[in-house]
Symmetry: C3
Subunit: 667 residues, 3 copies
Amino acid sequence: MVDLTRNGRLLFGGDYNPEQWPEEIWLEDIRLMKQAKVTTATLGIFSWSSLEPREGVYAFEWLDRAIDLLWANDISVVLATPTASPPPWFTKAHPEAMPVTRAGVRLVHGSRDTYNPAALAYREAARRITRAIGDRYGHHPALQGWHVHNEYGSVSYGPAVDEAFRRWLRERYIDLAALNRAWYTAFWSQGYGDWDEILAPQQTQYLSNPAHELDFKRFSAELLLDCYREQIAILRETSPDVPLTTNFILSTWLNYNHWELAAASDFVSIDFYLDADGVEGAAHAAFGADQARSFAQGRPWLLMEQAANATVKPGRIVAKPRGEILRTTAQHIAYGSQGALFFQWRAGLGGSEAFHSTMVPHVGEDSRVFREVVELGAFIDQLGDLSLEPAGRVNGRRVAIVWDIDSWWATESSSLPSDRFNFQAAVRRVHRALWFLGIGVDFVRPQDDLSGYSLLLIPSQLVATPEQATNVRRFVADGGEAVVWYFSGTFDANLQIIPGGYSGMFAETLGIRVEELLPLADGESVQLDNGAIGTVWSESVQLRGAEPWAHYTTGFARGGPAVTHNAVGSGHAYYVSTELDDAALTALLVMVLAEAGVEPDARGAGGGLEAVRRRAGDHSYLFLINHGNEDRWSTAFGTDLLTGSTYEGSVLVVAGAILVIRESINN
Amino acid sequence: MVDLTRNGRLLFGGDYNPEQWPEEIWLEDIRLMKQAKVTTATLGIFSWSSLEPREGVYAFEWLDRAIDLLWANDISVVLATPTASPPPWFTKAHPEAMPVTRAGVRLVHGSRDTYNPAALAYREAARRITRAIGDRYGHHPALQGWHVHNEYGSVSYGPAVDEAFRRWLRERYIDLAALNRAWYTAFWSQGYGDWDEILAPQQTQYLSNPAHELDFKRFSAELLLDCYREQIAILRETSPDVPLTTNFILSTWLNYNHWELAAASDFVSIDFYLDADGVEGAAHAAFGADQARSFAQGRPWLLMEQAANATVKPGRIVAKPRGEILRTTAQHIAYGSQGALFFQWRAGLGGSEAFHSTMVPHVGEDSRVFREVVELGAFIDQLGDLSLEPAGRVNGRRVAIVWDIDSWWATESSSLPSDRFNFQAAVRRVHRALWFLGIGVDFVRPQDDLSGYSLLLIPSQLVATPEQATNVRRFVADGGEAVVWYFSGTFDANLQIIPGGYSGMFAETLGIRVEELLPLADGESVQLDNGAIGTVWSESVQLRGAEPWAHYTTGFARGGPAVTHNAVGSGHAYYVSTELDDAALTALLVMVLAEAGVEPDARGAGGGLEAVRRRAGDHSYLFLINHGNEDRWSTAFGTDLLTGSTYEGSVLVVAGAILVIRESINN
Amino acid sequence: MVDLTRNGRLLFGGDYNPEQWPEEIWLEDIRLMKQAKVTTATLGIFSWSSLEPREGVYAFEWLDRAIDLLWANDISVVLATPTASPPPWFTKAHPEAMPVTRAGVRLVHGSRDTYNPAALAYREAARRITRAIGDRYGHHPALQGWHVHNEYGSVSYGPAVDEAFRRWLRERYIDLAALNRAWYTAFWSQGYGDWDEILAPQQTQYLSNPAHELDFKRFSAELLLDCYREQIAILRETSPDVPLTTNFILSTWLNYNHWELAAASDFVSIDFYLDADGVEGAAHAAFGADQARSFAQGRPWLLMEQAANATVKPGRIVAKPRGEILRTTAQHIAYGSQGALFFQWRAGLGGSEAFHSTMVPHVGEDSRVFREVVELGAFIDQLGDLSLEPAGRVNGRRVAIVWDIDSWWATESSSLPSDRFNFQAAVRRVHRALWFLGIGVDFVRPQDDLSGYSLLLIPSQLVATPEQATNVRRFVADGGEAVVWYFSGTFDANLQIIPGGYSGMFAETLGIRVEELLPLADGESVQLDNGAIGTVWSESVQLRGAEPWAHYTTGFARGGPAVTHNAVGSGHAYYVSTELDDAALTALLVMVLAEAGVEPDARGAGGGLEAVRRRAGDHSYLFLINHGNEDRWSTAFGTDLLTGSTYEGSVLVVAGAILVIRESINN
């Protein structure tokens, strides 16, 4: 297990770009960093053109000086490989290595991420700059970690991709006939007679082939994994003991395989930008933190990028309410992050992201934002005890939500029965409802070991394998409670429909047969006999062993079951064939949580009062964060790390407050 | 006159794709087809890659077995040429024969319809596979008809098209000066000095030339006709007696010339997908059926594709209400279809249209949908008498609506005075209003013989020739009633404006002069002094012999005539210069129907009770279909083919019911 | 100073395209022109293919005859060079000279403006046809002026542009390091190591570089200026005394530099199409006229194109209310135009703009539109006195609005803090509010001599230089009143943010420090303590010498200043940090107008009663135009040129009326 922290300090700091500034500003930066108790600077993420200004000609001196200066001031360095943004000379020298759009447009530099991950010239250039940086800094004492690339996710088309895609397909299918079956090419005369006839799914006349598209997404994700692995191999040589990561951009990017990239990393790191503020923003932050922790699968994780002062809203920058950055950061640490970094330290004066918020804003240190950053640095400094546990372990969760990248990819098909449906949105909705109930969850793959969980939630996992279905059945039979949402298990791994009834892969466990899919229009809804209202989807469901829990009273499926439950072994499996309104979804979850015997980590948690218990060594630390506008009561036994107050029972968490209690009774 | 039916049976069945299934499923299919009384399977529509897996290498054995199996079970075959979807090998071998978009993007396979109809390699490959299929199956006893291609409509750009377009223009204009005049190239410096300077209307800087665009649409439609004719010539050689068709996709596709393709066919076939359900869906079905029957011009026609269980709505599949498929199918047969086929028989498990509805759904035979299909098969089986009349003749209609492909094409110009205007929508609105009044109509070209009609309706036929105008005038002078809607006859065949007043080609007949076009904004309306409300359009109209029938009381044209009528010879011509609201449109039609002496085919028809009288041999058969939710009364004399009940006067048609009465009094 | 007018006549007429018509129609045109008292026809604007039907082969005879015929009938000619629309032969001969889109699509002829202004072949062809026309007609007595090109504004990409762009950048920056600094290329690894690595900002992966984009806009505008200058040089040789212009298309086109093109011209000409009718249309016309007059900077200007009968509204043509063309034209002349021309004389029967309104409509002379044209001709004929003053001088304005093309270009950046923000819209809003108060304004560049003004308005001028800031400060210190709107002076000339507080370039003069930008969402608003409502934008503003004038009472900036004022020397500078509602904006302007001592040109002006005083020789002419629906009172002393009535005090201007009073007391 790698340990990211140093000298009992969680990481605090951000992306730092000294190459944008004259060196007198560097000294100013050091002064402000010390004022804010910054521990860590991330360097080099977009420095390729500064480090290798011409092909094969390096200019490391500025970086030497910057790292030495930071280290002399007790600030560690996470060093990036700059391969996400090749310099202009690369375009000129290797035009064939530029990315090509689905419509065949060859892009050029002028932004960032202009490279084709399948192009040999790109791969070679990336390896070369990685080795040069690894050789030069791999043993620098300031080096706290490697930060490979930035936000993997580029997808390209064109000849180099076609070639690589065919190679990947040959390995996957061996036999062309197997590919033809998997892709269902007998439809629309798409049968391939030769591997060389296969292309990436470029622009075509009409609807594309869903299995072709899904395999291309798998291939593209693996291509990025290959890129990552090449850099890992080099950095393992140059600096075997330095932990490495690549930063995921959550929660809307899907062009990579989170589980696989995480498995190749020493620690997981995420970039996370809130899509709301207040309590909804906190729910969003919890979602990202739970994803990061789950992808890490027991290894450490780190919040690599967040915004000091902006939520992401369409068409404008939006300031975060005062004090919110403290609560959001505390949240991430409660969920196990080994610290909190920002993009970026100092606001740039130009470039495409000049208005991206920063720790030191354009206006300088005399600013609300920088004062909050200083306050945050002091806060994190007080949490040193937590650094004893490198993995950022939290209390074991008894509820798991299935998160399956194939199902998310499949959502993008243009051939689904409704375009109002999105896997990630379905997952977020269930996670949010649980968060408001104060219940912590893990995300799992459906084939994972589920034995530690009491309740398993499967929100519209479109794609499922027989092995996954067997695993779920075993979980239920062994006494687990499961809830499966509509359309789950409708497709096999090649996006072929399981015949005999939709949701077919799970049908036996659920004791149902789904005869007809009846998706609803925007604004359309159906009533259930338990008072619930369903939107987005409905189905004609028949009972094959299950019992009805609620029926449709309106709509095409009127009179038929809407929600069912089925006893399997010593557990139960629920099926939900429509999108329940908030109250009905919550009521269902309250019921199954009770059946599973799951309760919040602390009394009074939920509805915006977040209670998370993080562990370090032999101790537990209860975070109580009140994201709401009203004071709330909870219960705690122990001493607040921040104030030194001790609690032996009821504790008032005032609106907006954060308590971090080292518990006297270990929970 | 060809006869599609066999042994007194109307056609019932659908597209069948045995190449997608193992042969044990074929036997299952046969069992279910017999259960549903299927008479006909359509094969081969997308089978090119299965029949010619490599260029020039054929694999007919599976098709031999499939056809033999069907025929052994008394199921006939309509065999398609698979030329709408070339296999992947074709792209690889002939990249220059791929379609090119207006913006110059060369498309590739991965969907269907990836070919350039002007490319020699495509044409040659299409002829070759057609001849191979014709040679092999042209004399098979199961062969009931040829189904050439699928849904002609592809448009391409690029060098091969430019070349063919120039050839077509040379033939049309002979003299380049004539083309320059026709295209009004003196505007914007577009004068051509050499034929070779002419290109298809690709992406350009700003507004394109409307006459150039219109000629390109004409050319593109003729190019498809040429493709069709090449296949016809081959199939006539291989199997002179087998009737052939190509299936039109109604009612939104416009990249072909319906009248011309129909004239080249032995029978007309249509693919028709409802855009609504209930009574509005029935009105839509009637529109398609009237179009098909009219395009056929006395030859047989056939509903080649419909959906067993879905209306076309944006972004999702939508189930048809129970029983509706029976009514919709009955409707098509009432209007003359020689049967009813579906796309497709068995639901595929993969591919882009896996959720396209089918006769045998994913869930299998134990399903509402398949039970309705069996019910429908029994229904059609009872209508064998109707097969005596190959042409599917219906009672002579006395009302004609002008349907002019040039005017529809012209609607797509970006240079019209309003973008809220669409020819096809204007036609549908008039057809729908008449259908709700229980009045059957024919569609005609304005140059057709109109002598059989009493009432002629011209809904915004933008483009008109002097011959057409003369024909309309003669019709009116000879005692006909005509109604002409705004903007009709404003352009000549080259989209040049007739000077001296808009709607100029018909102005003399109408007795008006239209000085100004005053199209209305979304949400804008004008009042008329007869209580009507006008939207979309208004005009400043002056009387030149006509009398006003209604005036504008608001808007720019306030005080001027909105609707006029003019006596010409022994007939009358109305002009409607705005889009009347439903009630006002209906009132106008009621009046002119009365003047023309036109009445429904049966008492009580209209408002969702459909009454259509189809003929077979010496008999008439009255279809009474109640699409509404309330029971309705009508009158009939004869015996119901379905129940054997006899009627001698009043007859109650309960909500949702279908009566097919062989009449004792021939009407 | 050139004089456009002849024989005491203001110009009246329009674009005339004899090449579209048989010569018998020319005679008809002459008859109608004389009836309408037309003085001027503009020829040749889109005649390239008619004048040079094949490369290097000319056909001038038709134009000789047309010009001679006009001149024989006392109609002068403004002759265009037809370079805005190369003929089809040009595409074929020089495919490399076609424009290329940002995505790399090479456009072709079929519309107009299909040329790449950086292509040598285009430049050469343009020079050749210009010289040929100049040689042939430069000394024709009918020639009243040269009209070079049409509506400059084409932007292209591709190799020829890349090359020219690099040349331009080398001249601008000399040193590549300077360019790297100016473009802030250290961000996102965009550092250039060689000039040849630089491309025009084509399609790239993600956000483009704002400074790169801004320089490309500057370059593209200068490229057009180069094209213009080449033609000017030729025409100065062929006809040294003939005044020349190029017509601007106002008010939405921004691909050229209005100030620079104007400076190269002998007189300014504009194409102006109203976006509204009634009083709002009049406000729009005033905006265009003030822009044209200001761009001309003391030289004459001319309304080159307007529509006889249409305002520009989305998706349809819209008739102008009766009488409005007279008022709008009078307005332009009041503001200094040397006449009023139209696009175009006679309605074409085909082409892309067949429904563009004209002086002679499709319906011919017996029409409302032509009758209004005749009335207008008579009106203009009565204003001959005004032709004595070639420059069309109006009374000196004491209010100036800053209009800065860099700031407009900068608005198009995708990297601003809000996409609801547009410089031109901000300017129009301020101009409109002043117009409704009856106050005339000049537009100025912020570096211009401001000494003649009492009040300076700076509506969100994003980009500012230190010189401009100093000029503004000096203006205020010298006793001027200034109002600066939010975000002004936030960027330097390279779109780099001035650190230390937004609006930084003007911060010292304003006495403020803007700490945070808080743009608002659609539908979001904030309250101010003076009752105002703010939308679009808000800010956290701190006082650094200024005093608050209004505070925010809601929103993130609650409690902070919203509007401030600062005393500097003997003047004052206001800062407005949000978009005030109409009433609050008006109230603010009323206050600063009072402080500046500025009043309307006539009593009662404003709210739709327009009062403008134009000068000619020693006289002043007061235009009183009532655009509203209610009669209004004003004051005048003198004789109406139209009616001969004399006024010695109060004068009633009835709704819709126009008075042009030669004043007895010179104002």
